[in-house]
Amino acid sequence: MAQYETPRLDRPWTEVNPGGVVLEPGNSVTYITGTWRAMRPVRDTEQCTQCLICWIMCPDAAVAIEDGEVTGFDHDHCKGCGICAQQCPVNVKKPHSFTGDMGKVIQMVPESRFEG
């Protein structure tokens, strides 16, 4: 999902802007904070009611929506804080499609289950 221009991390001190003033608005999108994540939110797409509360509550705007519907998570910027899973108001009627557990439509899963 990394379609952004990666910020340069090799500038010497003689080339930095005094005071660390950021001159390019909106460039925090190039800062990949998804690597901080220890737990990943996983949504049961079948049982999701598209209430959009996760989209409203996400502090990193990392819940992706398209045409008014949640399509997934922006894993480049989701820090795995779990607010979406905590705030998800919908309890599954049958076991969660990924975890197999009862509970919320969005559930937090250890990142280790997706690696390797």
């Binding site: 001190w13 930095v16 660390g20 003033v21």
Partner: protein, 398 residues
């Protein structure tokens, strides 16, 4: 040169007159003795419509400096004033102001830091802030406090610096002491400080910027290196502003004020009001044939190391007078002493014997006989070659 108009003013009021003439865009301040008179007089000018300043009465000094940071980030010319515990409460925001490179001017009326509670003069407040990334000027008189305040605006806003300036004077001694102060004509000050055009403004929505952003392990170090470089190259810029002001006012504005240093064997280095007492004693001793000399740094940050070394390298014995203790420093010396000692070593000079006197804490009077006793000590040290105690106390009951 323009003619000054002379008025009887205390040092705090002299600063408020400078602020009236500078007419800053924003002043945010909270009262604390002995700074109160600065803001009290200035707020009257605001109330009377004599200045255009937006005056922000805040709930604390932390809020005062925070409001100054916000206003400066918006592109305003900003000033404030404080003392002692008020400066301590600004601490966190001092570093924000200097780190974001906001050219705020802060008038400090030096006062002892509690505890024990004391409202009188020493330098423990601003000396604690010496590593906060602010330029520091120290005034001997109310006249100097007035002059330094005006120059501070130009120094802080210099495009090569963009570094906040602390303009300090001694609480009560000059802050409340009435003296003859020469004020420049209003228009001369207005022309000297000019119009401030901020490089960036948070209100400039056509050119949006972010200030104070997250700066991780990847760039924080580089930004701090850039900041210290600005401070390192600031002395010639300060000297140029001071020279321009000296020409305008007819009052010399040296980085180091020197008296008798051309041939001095025995020198005293002291900042702020006590330099006046020391000058009087030095003059009397020189009349008696003692090769005494006075060195008064007007600028402490950046530290004029090379200039001080060149002035004292041929002396036999030198005393530094510190109006603050750097607790736990070598020998429990003061901050001026540790910097002078380091400067001598770094320039390979080991000739003069160097001692430190802690003096005047909590407003303790430091009188001419005490200064004379320092010169007596220096002569005895030079004659015997024995330094004795490195750190001594002047005016302390022992």
């Amino acid at each position: 040169m323009v003619e000054s108009k002379y008025m009887p003013l205390d040092g705090a009021n002299a600063v408020s007159q400078a602020m009236r003439q500078i007419n800053p865009d924003v002043v945010a301040a909270y009262p604390i003795t002995p700074q109160t008179a600065v803001v009290q007089h200035f707020s009257q000018y605001v109330a009377d419509g004599i200045v255009d300043t937006e005056f922000v009465a805040v709930e604390s000094e932390h809020a005062a400096m925070s409001a100054c940071v916000g206003a400066a980030a918006a592109g305003a010319r900003v000033m404030t004033a404080t003392a002692a515990n008020g400066l301590a409460l600004m601490w966190e925001m001092l570093y924000i102001a200097s780190g974001v490179r906001l050219p705020i001017v802060l008038s400090v009326v030096n006062r002892a830091l509690s505890s024990p509670l004391n409202i009188h003069c020493d330098h423990s407040d601003s000396m604690g802030a010496r590593d906060a990334g602010w330029i520091q000027l120290y005034a001997e008189t109310g006249q100097e406090a007035y002059d330094n305040t005006i120059q501070a605006v130009r120094i802080a806003e210099h495009p090569e610096l963009l570094t906040p300036v602390m303009s300090c004077q001694d609480g009560f001694i000059t802050g409340h002491g009435v003296e003859r102060v020469g004020l420049l004509p209003d228009e001369a000050v207005r022309d000297f400080v000019g119009t401030y055009e901020a490089r960036y403004s948070l209100l400039d929505t056509d050119h949006p910027v972010t200030m104070g952003a997250w700066d991780y392990t990847d760039y924080y170090f580089e930004h701090k290196r850039e900041q210290t470089e600005a401070m390192n190259r600031s002395l010639p810029i300060i000297e140029a502003v001071c020279a321009e002001y000296a020409e305008l006012s007819g009052r010399p504005q040296p980085i180091l004020d020197m008296y008798g240093m051309d041939d001095a064997d025995y020198a005293i280095i002291v900042m702020s009001s006590n330099a006046g007492t020391t000058r009087t004693v030095t003059r009397a001793l020189r009349a008696r044939g003692v090769r005494a000399g006075l060195l008064k740094p007007r600028v402490f940050r950046p530290f004029p190391a090379k200039q001080i070394v060149e002035a004292i390298e041929n002396c036999k014995a030198v005393a530094v007078l510190d109006r603050a203790i750097s607790f736990g420093s070598p020998g429990g010396s003061g901050p001026l002493f540790t910097d002078v000692a380091a400067a001598l070593y770094n320039h390979g000079i080991s000739g003069p014997i160097l001692i430190d006197y802690i003096y005047g804490l909590g407003g303790r009077d430091t009188l001419p006989p005490m200064i004379e006793s320092v010169y007596d000590d220096l002569q005895a040290i030079a004659a015997s070659g024995e330094r004795g105690d490195m750190v001594r106390y002047l005016g302390l009951r022992e």
